[in-house]
Symmetry: C2
Subunit: 562 residues, 2 copies
């Protein structure tokens, strides 16, 4: 077994499961079903967020879970104390010797766009074993897929030219909820995260500037101090004033950044319809302190007091002063108020200053917006022609507030070669029995036409040949497709205790992120649009249709109306 594959989170272990998996295992074991061979499908029934697509993610963690699947002695002890006293001791020996060597896992490539009813994973092996891994696989797939899908939706709303940053750790559902959010947001197309640990663990770009508390922690110029080696020097000439020397970018000379900033503030205030005495000196002091620490990377939060009357003016003053010393400021962050309006005001003055002082790059300063942004708000900001370059998104992204859970299920479809069907009064909940393959049929324009489920003993559909695609339960709904390309979606990822697909090729964050992009490109725009998207068709072959419906009729008792 590949033993160097360890899940990100040490909590991912065989006991991270529902007790009923263990009680079922015992009942199966007791009933002599140790050699029963089962096939389970993992799938969902409805796309999240009112959309018509989902991105499949979590596979890499599932493989790592399988690779490390083993009950420790302390696990066994715990189970011994948890199951009834009469439980046969031999069962615990059986559990202790269990590993995932005999599981075979087929899956769709991580990062692929996927649809309801299609098996994302087909898990085969000894009934007891494949039952024991159910809950953990679902836990690993459900949130990862939901989160990735959510991120792609934010990306589509923002467009390709906007930078998207995940800022949600503090509102996430637990530490790992936050970490998974960072990881799967990046996979779904975000550009970075504020979460430092995510940066360390996953090599995701980490971003951040300062909070309102930073601005609030300065009151006036007299507080400006300088660190020289281990000494801290109070710069103040007297109690009313201060100074803040900063070395030029291009020489060893230093100049007074405070003096320069104040001068620029006086010059530009009338242009910007501001009064200098309404701008906060504490804010200017804070921005200068930040600029001294990060002269090459100066981004300023400008809404602590008042964007139009104070923050923007102070920022521009410091940015112009920095420019005199050879540094280019990076931009601003706005965390409250009317984001579209404030971004337009900011861009307007940036452009004005760029012209006035002949520094063209000033017009293109980055404007970051945050503050409870969701998908709808981005669409609305688009309508208002916002001038934002970057969104920092927290709560609505990381908790998937619009729909906080994906409903993947894990259903037995075959046992010892015999198909199993789970009936339900709700047709949506009827499972598609038997071992199945999934094909994606593409049209000549490169877009996906539909997904086709077949029994696993059927030959794959042929390119440029008409294939009948049927609705699984509705006899009337049928259509022919003539695919230009046929892709077999389920590939074997784990067998005999080994990873089958070259792990490093598909499992890196960058690879999965690319897969998300390329996979979404094959989906027609009308399936992806925000309002009233067209459902994508998931069909079954004629053979699978008859198979399902015969089995259904065999198994369903005819009720009496009452």
């Amino acid at each position: 077994m590949t033993s160097d594959l360890i899940p990100d989170n040490q909590l991912v272990q065989p006991l991270l499961t529902d007790l009923y998996q263990i009680t079922m295992a015992y009942a199966y074991w007791k009933a002599g079903k140790v050699n029963d061979h089962a096939v389970f499908d993992l799938f969902f029934r409805k796309n999240p967020f009112g959309g018509e697509f989902t991105i499949f993610a979590g596979l890499e963690q599932c493989i790592k879970f399988l690779a490390s699947f083993r009950y420790t002695d302390s696990d066994i002890n715990f189970l011994r104390n948890t199951l009834p006293q009469a439980t046969d001791d031999e069962f615990f020996v059986f559990l202790k010797n269990l590993n995932a060597k005999d599981v075979t896992l087929y899956a769709i490539e991580e990062g692929s766009v996927v649809f309801p009813k299609v098996p994302l994973m087909r898990v085969e092996g000894p009934l007891i074993l494949v039952q024991l891994v159910e809950t953990t696989l679902l836990t690993l797939v459900n949130f990862a897929s939901l989160m990735t899908t959510n991120a792609t939706r934010f990306r589509m709303a923002a467009g390709d030219n906007i930078s998207l940053l995940e800022f949600g750790l503090r509102r996430a559902q637990g530490p790992d909820g936050g970490l998974s959010a960072s990881k799967y947001s990046y996979i779904g197309g975000f550009d970075g995260t504020s979460n430092v640990l995510a940066g360390k663990m996953f090599n995701i770009p980490v971003k951040g500037t300062h909070a309102h508390a930073f601005i609030n922690s300065f009151s006036d110029f007299a507080e400006l101090r300088t660190r020289i080696g281990n000494r801290v020097v109070l710069n103040a000439q007297d109690i009313f004033f201060g100074s803040q020397m900063l070395q030029r970018c291009d020489s060893s000379e230093s100049e007074d950044l405070l003096l320069k900033s104040i001068e620029y503030r006086n010059i530009i205030a009338p242009d910007m319809n501001c009064m200098v005495d309404q701008a906060s000196d504490g804010e200017l002091t804070a921005l200068i302190s930040f600029a001294v620490a990060f002269p090459h990377n100066f981004v300023a939060l400008i809404d602590t007091y008042d964007v139009s009357r104070s923050g923007l003016l102070n920022f521009c003053a410091v940015a112009l002063a920095l420019n005199d010393l050879g540094y280019r400021a990076m931009g601003i962050r706005i965390d409250s108020g009317d984001l579209a309006y404030l971004s337009k005001v900011s861009r307007h003055w940036f452009t004005h200053i760029a012209t006035k002082f002949k520094i063209p790059w000033f017009a293109n300063l980055t404007i970051v917006a945050s503050n409870d942004i969701n998908e709808e708000i981005i669409w609305s900001l688009n309508d208002q022609n916002h001038k934002i370059n970057c969104f920092g998104i927290g709560t609505n992204l990381v908790t998937c507030a619009k729909q906080p859970a994906l409903g993947c299920v894990y259903k037995l479809v075959e046992l010892n070669g015999i198909p199993r069907i789970k009936l339900s009064q709700d047709v949506q909940k009827i499972t598609m029995p038997g071992r199945k393959n999934v094909y994606r049929l593409y049209g000549s324009d490169g877009y996906a036409l539909c997904d086709l489920l077949q029994r696993s003993n059927e030959p794959p559909p042929n390119v440029m040949t008409k294939v009948l695609c049927r609705h699984p339960f509705n006899q009337q709904k049928r259509a022919f497709a003539t695919p230009s390309r046929v892709e077999s979606l389920l590939k074997m990822y784990w067998q005999g205790g080994n990873v089958c697909m070259p792990f490093n090729e598909w499992s890196s964050l960058e690879a999965i992120r690319e897969k998300v992009k390329s996979s979404l490109k094959t989906l027609r725009q009308d399936h992806k649009r925000y309002l009233n998207p067209t459902p994508y068709k998931v069909s079954v072959s004629d053979n699978l249709y008859s198979f399902i419906n015969d089995l259904w009729l065999q198994n369903a008792p005819i009720g009496d109306l009452s």
Copy 2:
């Protein structure tokens, strides 16, 4: 420092934070603010779930985080590569030597009912350090408090006599989301969880029976097999029939549970308006197999085929057969359909059988209901006079679907002894400046009257003495209270690197769970009711009112209407 206090999750570490905490730390350090002393309040602005109360949780984990706060060498390396190249190397030496010894943490007792604007924690210490712990503290408090509050709401909906089980792991937001959900559901009044790891880590009762897959994995009697030692014996006499011996509870004799079950099924079917040939033999086979594994703990999932026509009949047959052998079945689980109706049907037949066979306990068999249950559904089931004894609750509990995030914030209120106010155009977002204490005033009936915030240098309100309670921002809203009891809510939990309150007394799950119960009892029913609850009053002293409003006027520029 207390070094044996380790957070539940190894991901809880100093790098589980936003990068801007580190960049701010550097800017503070660079500006010589190493010895600045800050006071931060951690609080929320709005109760979740449309309610008028919140339960504070997560404190124990926060203390463990502080106790273990240290940057490792690999953390420092990562930060060195993440911050700009020009970052002063001495800063990393400073970080490496940092620990939380100089932080003082005051908090409200974990498990207490709390309200908007009240500091749940007051964190004091060196500005840089208390800023560096912000995000992690928020992450640990936000979800824990949200989850616990959600659980208490489910408990109130269900009433005290219903057993509540958390079944949500598979839909949780990540592995730790699931684990936290189990833990804080238990704290909020749930009786157990399906999550085995939660049972192992937190000593929470673990519950579970079997899934539909278990029922589906049996087709007919001929499959019944028995394990004798390491041998598995196929019981079938011929290919059409089987048998299933089970040893009596009270002697070493065995009897055929299958034969007995079939006999009972034939006897009771007409009573129950069922036809034996419409009941599933596969289901009966599965139930018998489960009963043989768990004769003392027989709970059966009865909705795989049809509750009224198959599941209930099969369950009663096996339960009666078990009773003949000296075992008492425990009950049923229903996972679909009209739960109120099906519970009433089930209870009706249980009562009928109890009378007919003179086994009174049969009338009280446990009925467990699951299937996407939320708070509203429980209230609606109550209205329908359901006969359910136990709810298994998943998605809506563990993801807090009704509101998936609590918005705790962490605001600077004092720096070097000088109060700080964060103004905002939105009055709701204005912070209450200065170091404050919080008192809860109780009336003579034992119920809480209001929470009163005071400046920390004011003497506490006196019992049986009139105290003026003011709205923090609205001059007109004032009231007198004459408390029969005054409780100081903020207690010192961490100082000088040590836990101050006896850790084992307040931090156990059981202690916090009891606190939740006792604390909620002091809250008047109208604040807790589901529909239109009355807001609980959070007031400020006259002194604090003037202090806030003077500071506000000093800091707020007078704008121009435009």
